[in-house]
């Protein structure tokens, strides 16, 4: 076997689902790719998130990207030779009051006018048919029927393996120390030496702001540690993933009976130590919501709780697309705790932009310029 390459058409920094997906799609388009990952693929947010494959309740600016991604999720086995544990039983947004439901209706009507039809208003009867365990007082909600869930680390590593198969050089345990411009070439200095390429993708997740700052595009990235809990197995009682309008809760029962409880409560991230600290007070609040809404859960043991290290932008939207400053530089980070579903599609769109300079999929509103450009 020849030595691993140190130069390529494209260098991707970051082995999360986004970096791996972009590497795969670039390789599928015939580009030579080097992916640099400081730990192993999916070590952080991509490997330990809730696994929700959700279009429901997304910001409008993300929906086109999310649509591309959902189409890929529904043929994920063909794409990466692994079903990634993907199941599609829908995701339901539960309204607890008539006022909530009215807001849901307004949202669905707005989406319809924009030409998006994945969200569907449901009444109390349909809600209880889908989620029999939910409290009687809830008047309805919204369902996105093609939504579902997958196994995060398995999915991320499937993208990694497939990218490797397509010729990408995946370098795990390689830590980027400095990025600089050398004429028209990017020079990426690491703990194992320099790597060179004319095109560079910054998909470094919670560490991406450092690379952006190195290149003169500083962004206000917040490092968060969204916490999750999982229970011992219970008899099957809920199929779709459930999220709430008013409260911070996401809720999913797996095929083996265990229930994943999340809601976006953040612990403390220590990104330089690759470590998180849980906040049990917030988890207690999280557990209290479940205690209120699903009485049958009260006696079940919580067997594990954890948090991932993730990047959040002030407007909760990712930074996605070409650099505002340099040709040959692309950003793909800051998915603000909802980037897992976007991974497959965002990689495809990014590869298209890198190869052709453009994409038909609108990504307006996601560019880095919104943070870096001064008002004229």
């Amino acid at each position: 076997m020849s030595a691993a390459p140190t130069s390529a058409d494209v260098i991707v920094i970051g082995g999360g689902i986004h970096g791996c997906s972009t590497a795969l799609h670039c390789a599928l388009r015939g580009a030579s790719v080097i992916l640099l990952e400081k730990d192993h693929a999916g070590r952080h947010a991509s490997g330990v998130n809730a696994g929700g494959v959700r279009q429901l309740a997304r910001h409008v600016a993300e929906i086109p990207l999310s649509n591309v991604s959902m189409a890929l999720w529904h043929r994920i086995g063909e794409l990466v030779d692994d079903d990634c544990g993907f199941t599609s039983d829908g995701q339901v947004l539960v309204a607890e009051t008539e006022e909530d439901l009215a807001n849901c209706k307004a949202r669905v009507d707005d989406l319809t006018l924009r030409g998006f039809h994945h969200e569907e208003l449901i009444d109390g009867k349909e809600l209880r048919r889908l989620v029999p365990a939910v409290s009687e007082s809830c008047p309805g909600g919204v369902i996105s029927r093609r939504d579902g869930a997958a196994i995060p680390l398995r999915a991320t590593q499937a993208f990694k393996r497939k990218a490797q198969e397509q010729g990408a050089s995946i370098r795990e345990g390689v830590r980027v120390e400095k990025v600089s411009r050398d004429g028209k070439t990017w020079r990426v200095a690491t703990n194992v030496g320099d790597f060179l390429a004319p095109r560079l993708v910054n998909a470094a997740g919670a560490w991406a702001d450092r690379i952006a700052a190195d290149l003169g595009e500083p962004v206000p990235l917040e490092v968060i540690a969204p916490m999750l809990m999982i229970t011992a197995p219970l008899p099957a009682f809920i199929k779709p993933v459930v999220i709430m309008v008013r409260r911070k809760l996401s809720f999913k029962q797996f095929g083996n009976g265990t229930v994943l409880i999340g809601g976006g409560y953040s612990g403390r991230a220590l990104r330089d130590e690759n470590r998180t600290v849980l906040d049990w007070r917030k988890l207690a609040t999280n557990a209290g919501t479940v205690w209120d809404l699903f009485p049958l859960m009260r006696g079940v043991p919580i067997v594990r709780a954890w948090a991932g290290i993730e990047a959040r932008m002030p407007d909760d939207l990712p930074v996605f697309g070409p650099s505002a400053r340099y040709e040959g530089l692309y950003h793909q980070f800051g998915f603000s705790a909802h980037g897992f579903q976007l991974g497959p599609g965002a990689g495809a769109v990014m590869a298209e932009i890198i190869a052709t300079g453009r994409s038909n999929v609108p990504i307006d509103g996601l560019g880095i310029a919104r943070f870096t450009q001064q008002a004229p």
């Binding site: 011992a232 403390r268 906040d279 207690a284 043991p301 919580i302």
Partner: protein, 486 residues
């Protein structure tokens, strides 16, 4: 000793919290309390003693000969603890350790406790973890059949309830505890049809270099006594190279291989044991660094000479610091206590050294010869990483050795944390206690690396399960409530 019997009786914070009431924990708590430190000792069991001195104050086994003189030594350790001014919470589970985010400075922790179905977060300035050892997993074909248990489980039944296995009993494996238990069970009236020794013959040669120290060690007399007692009365089968439990729906027999020779021994109970390893779940979840100890062939926490871990303020004593036995556990507990008392500023370094000096020389004596035992009773490779593909290695999630090997090679999985995502091994309620060492061994073997390179599970709190209701109703300290309001 001040018994704490309800969750609201805990103080908001303690200078020192000791976790586990075996010889190390009891001695640590007693020593620190004697030096005027506010100490809380929490333990999951109904009575003090840990595993080695389990039920020492309550055992129904009246005949002192059955459990032996070494067991009854525990009574003095418990008596000393009872005289000391330490808090003691029995039936209390510690499920999390984290930094106390409200602390202005210095070493401070927030710990999650459960007692009688209620949970609470309290503070601790120093922690000593004395959660001891667990039996090394012994995965053989059929080990999940009813009728197969670990030797340690049988010993728990004997000590706490004077129960011995009914019917024909076979003990199998290696290590001092196996011979001790054989003797104890025989004395208690069990029908032991065979003791199958899996100690690899080649180990005698490897251990020979460590023999001189062993000959001068306290282990020797004890070991000879155990062996002689067991061998005199029981059928000993040495050189066992293969073992399987067989039966339809429950154990009917043990299939034994000795090289090319095979034998089937009909039995009703098969007790497995191949040594003990430090129980690292709590120290791992608390963020303490661990290293792979080649001689003991297990993960041990990285400790300084006061048994302080890589996390300042957390010490680890007893067999959890590396296997050393009951006598060394008590000494380590006392040294760790001196370390904690010193960190709290109650004594200075010179005084700590002065008080620790006799303990350190005792400890050296107590551990002399340990290496010989480690080398001699290191399990054979086929009992660390089962060669049969169909052998279950993760009992919670029913994952087989073959699945782990296949996933390691086919999908290029290099560590146990990645393996979890593919096979769910280590994700059940035992949190990998029963599969961790085997998964590491299998990955190392499949990838041609070593357990040290493979690493271990990153363990997640709660270290022991806590119910949703307990968590939802979590009683918070006043300081913690203030921190949230702020």
């Amino acid at each position: 000793m001040k018994a704490v019997t309800a969750i609201d009786q805990f103080e908001e914070s303690y200078d020192l919290v000791v976790v586990g009431a075996g010889p190390a924990g009891l001695s640590a708590a007693a020593r620190a309390a004697e030096l005027g430190i506010g100490v809380l000792l929490v333990d999951e069991n109904p009575a003090p003693g840990g595993q080695i001195y389990r039920a020492i104050t309550t055992t129904p086994v009246g005949d002192r000969e059955v459990l032996g003189a070494d067991y009854w030594r525990g009574a003095e350790i418990v008596a000393r603890f009872e005289r000391a001014q330490a808090g003691y919470a029995a039936r209390c589970t510690l499920w999390s350790i984290g930094p106390d985010e409200t602390a202005a400075e210095g070493e401070a922790f927030e710990i999650g406790l459960s007692l009688d179905g209620r949970a609470r977060l309290i503070g601790a300035r120093q922690l000593i973890l004395t959660t001891g050892a667990q039996e090394r997993p012994f995965p053989i074909p059929g080990w999940t059949l009813p009728g197969v248990m670990t030797a340690g489980a049988a010993q728990i039944a004997l000590k706490s309830a004077a129960i011995v296995p009914a019917g024909r009993t076979v003990l199998a494996g290696c290590g001092p505890l196996l011979y001790l238990l054989a003797g104890q069970l025989a004395a208690a009236g069990a029908e032991i049809v065979a003791v199958l020794d899996t100690t690899p013959r080649g180990n005698w040669l490897k251990a020979a270099g460590a023999l001189p120290n062993f000959l001068r060690s306290p282990y020797l007399a004890k070991g000879l006594r155990l062996m002689a007692k067991a061998r005199r009365s029981l059928r000993f089968v040495g050189g066992v190279t293969g073992l399987a439990a067989e039966g339809e729906g429950r154990l009917a027999s043990a299939r034994v291989a000795r090289g090319d020779a095979a034998e089937i021994i009909a039995c009703d109970t098969l007790l497995l044991h191949q040594g003990v390893i430090p129980s690292v779940n709590l120290s791992n979840a608390a963020g303490c660094a661990h290293d792979f100890d080649e001689a003991q062939h297990c993960w041990v926490p990285r400790l300084d000479n006061w048994f302080g871990s890589s996390v300042p303020g957390i010490a680890i004593a007893g067999d959890g610091a590396g296997i050393g036995g009951a006598e060394s556990a008590a000494l380590r507990g006392e040294i760790a206590a001196l370390g904690a008392v010193r960190r709290l500023g109650q004594i200075d370094l010179a005084e700590g050294d002065r008080q620790a000096a006799p303990l350190r020389s005792e400890l050296e004596r107590a551990l002399r010869g340990r290496r010989f035992l480690d080398l001699l009773y290191k399990p054979a490779p086929q009992f660390l990483a089962p060669p049969q593909d169909e052998t279950i290695i993760c009992r919670c999630e029913e994952v087989t050795a073959g699945q782990v090997r296949d996933t390691a090679t086919r999908l290029g999985v290099t560590g146990p944390n990645q393996m979890k995502a593919f096979l769910r091994c280590g994700m059940g309620p035992c949190q990998g206690r029963l599969c961790g060492p085997t998964v590491v061994e299998l990955i190392a073997q499949a990838n041609g690396t070593t357990p040290a390179e493979v690493g271990y599970y990153r363990l997640r709190p709660p270290v022991k399960p806590v119910t949703l209701a307990e968590l939802a109703a979590l009683q918070q300290t006043e300081a913690a409530v203030k921190a949230v309001v702020r």
